[in-house]
């Protein structure tokens, strides 16, 4: 009964929100209140933010994901052609090489995801060009940030975590990104105006969720097989940190709870660009954050600074 009441309350508040759409958007812009999870997409972009600006925001995230998976799969990053003219550099742990996959069987997952993320980079670059814009080049990316991130999450006491050193550590590195990608595209869906671009974004959202599910399933499956929950626990520490930085929007990973979604309605979480920036910059702390974490010089494009 409690749940039904909650649903009705939510439905009513949704109607209220719809009725006052303009006002609500204005409030978001002025106060930058955090959005509720679940519904998502009910926001309006800040003035002057175009579909291409949002695509460029997504492109930065795809550069980050592509670099991570390519280094994991091959020991090398994006080709200079894919990184774009004037691309920044990617900092990687010393003696970087492909993850020593051993008998884990994860290499074929990593290769699939890596190719998907490269395809996303290429597709979004082309989509921006087709839409009359200019795709940003890869910004400076720091893939050694996993180490301090692990300290912040309470996983290690010294900054030593390196996701390229073992198949299990790779799963944690992948876990850091995928659910964030889902929430970012979900949040962006409501900001896009062009129906074709929206359709593509929804399709990329779907693929990020396929990835996220595979990583989460491998984490719990491997843990069950080895009767060792160490890496599931670590993943949940990452999740908790993302929740702190990114406005909640997380569920604890367990064998019986693989999907990351709002438990009231089984709808995936949604994040604002601000919440996503706080996660990838690796810092809380309100407005004016422009760089840090995985992006030591910030993102390229128009959406680079937190407004809340």
């Amino acid at each position: 009964m409690e749940k039904v009441n909650e649903l009705i309350r939510k439905a009513v508040s949704r109607r209220t929100f719809l009725a006052g759409a303009g006002t609500a958007a204005a409030t978001l812009l002025a106060g930058c209140s955090s959005t509720s999870s679940g519904g998502g997409g009910g926001t309006t972009p800040p003035p002057g933010i175009t579909d291409n600006d949002i695509l460029n925001f997504a492109l930065n995230l795809e550069y980050l994901e592509a670099e991570f998976y390519l280094y994991a799969a091959t020991g090398k990053g994006l080709s200079s052609a894919d990184a774009g003219t004037g691309a920044g550099t990617t900092t990687v742990p010393g003696s970087i090489a492909a993850v020593p996959w051993g008998t884990s069987g994860f290499a074929q997952y990593a290769n699939e995801i890596a190719q998907d993320e490269v395809n996303h980079v290429r597709f979004i670059q082309k989509a921006i060009t087709s839409n009359g814009g200019t795709p940003v080049a890869r910004p400076n990316i720091d893939l050694t940030f996993f180490a301090p991130l692990a300290v912040a999450a309470g996983i290690t006491t010294t900054p030593t975590f390196n996701p390229f050193l073992s198949p299990q550590a790779f799963l944690i590195g992948a876990f850091v990104f995928e659910d964030v990608g889902v929430t970012a595209y979900h949040g962006a869906a409501g900001l896009l105006t062009n129906a074709t671009i929206l359709g593509a974004a929804a399709g990329i959202l779907g693929v990020e969720a396929y990835h996220a599910a595979a990583i989460r399933t491998l984490l719990v499956g491997t843990a069950a097989q080895a009767n060792d929950q160490t890496y599931v626990k670590i993943a949940n520490q990452v999740s908790a940190l993302r929740g702190t930085l990114g406005g909640g929007n997380e569920t604890t990973l367990t064998t019986g709870s693989i999907v990351a979604a709002d438990t009231t309605n089984a709808i995936a979480f949604s994040r604002t660009t601000d919440q996503v920036l706080h996660i990838v910059y690796g810092a809380a702390g309100g407005a004016g954050l422009t760089k840090g974490g995985f992006f030591p010089n910030g993102l390229n494009g128009k959406i680079t600074a937190t407004a809340s």
Binding site: V182, V207, E208, Y210, A268
Partner: protein, 312 residues
């Protein structure tokens, strides 16, 4: 093998290009070319279409995990709403839930059952007085018919074992992703769109989970992967009777080039997506064809008396 894959990819790439060239007009006309002849689809029409599919998924998973239909759960989910009458669910004689032997797969089934139930409840709530009741569903003859069509054999019981349950689930999840993806462009309200995008993501989580679980259980034997390829091929054919484009990829191993100009990195296709790594999208007419087995009156297979609502 590589040749076949290359050919398939070429087909997908060319179909994708063709679709982009045709743009919105073509999509709109495809959408209206099916049985859904309404001049303009409202958001409620689209949500009711989704509700029919969620009834189907929720019943399948709840029966598999808990052995009962959703209206018989401890916390029942209504199937007859707004004064309507619900259809019944056809099941095999002496039906029992799946005799799971793998606790992980049992847990996946339970989680998915609960989540699909929540989607039913959410859509009923969002639709309010416009929500349709559950239509007549068939979870017995349907699977046998599809198995026959896919060349799997004369009979297929998804409630028989862990592996068969996963294959049964496989039949639904990617379809859910393509249905929500195809519907996204038809939704007017930003709030409804946000919710639909969020359900799309959860269906993709389920699909990714199921594919990963099948791949693990298959353990390289190719038996289960082979079944997924037959199902994907059948879905693609039902959605595209001419045979092109191919809009479905089963579990297999392909070679990808990654950051090299050409390369041979083996990848498992646990993502059902096009050559741009964008999830496939299907129109309501294509979805209807899949879930009713291509019946000309859109009544058959899982929905023997058709769907309820405007899109049917």
């Amino acid at each position: 093998m590589a040749t076949q894959e290359t050919k398939q990819l070429d087909e997908i790439i060319s179909s994708r290009r063709a679709m982009m060239l045709m743009g919105g007009t073509a999509l709109a006309s495809i959408m209206l070319s099916g049985k859904a002849q309404a001049a303009t689809l409202t958001d409620n029409d689209v949500l009711n279409f989704a509700l029919n599919l969620e009834y189907l998924e929720a019943q399948f998973y709840n029966l598999a995990a808990f052995g009962v239909t959703i209206d018989k759960l401890t916390t029942p989910i209504p199937v007859a709403v707004n004064g309507g009458t619900a259809g019944n669910v056809t099941l095999k004689p002496a039906f029992t839930k799946v005799p799971f032997s793998n606790p992980l797969i049992s847990a996946y089934a339970a989680e998915t059952a609960v989540e699909e139930g929540k989607h039913v409840t959410f859509l009923q709530s969002a639709l309010g007085s416009s929500a349709v009741s559950m239509p007549k569903l068939d979870l017995y003859n349907s699977f046998n018919t599809l198995a026959n069509a896919a060349g799997i054999g004369p009979a297929f019981d998804p409630f028989a074992s862990d592996a068969f349950f996963l294959i049964g689930a496989y039949i639904f999840e990617d379809v859910g992703v393509t249905a929500y993806h195809g519907a996204a462009g038809a939704i007017q309200s930003k709030a409804t769109l946000g919710a639909a995008a969020g359900i799309l993501a959860v269906e993709a989580y389920h699909a990714g989970l199921i594919r990963t679980a099948i791949n693990a259980l298959d353990a390289g034997s190719g038996t289960l992967a082979g079944l997924t390829q037959k199902i994907s091929a059948t879905r693609s054919k039902l959605a595209n009777p001419s045979g092109t484009p191919v809009d479905d990829i089963g579990l297999t191993t392909v070679n990808v080039s990654l950051n090299a100009s050409s390369g041979s990195f083996a990848a498992t296709t646990f993502v059902d997506a096009d050559a741009n790594s964008i999830a496939f999208s299907r129109t309501p007419a294509q979805i209807l064809s899949i879930v009713t087995g291509g019946a000309t009156n859109n009544q058959g297979v899982f929905f023997p008396a058709g769907l309820n609502g405007t899109i049917k």
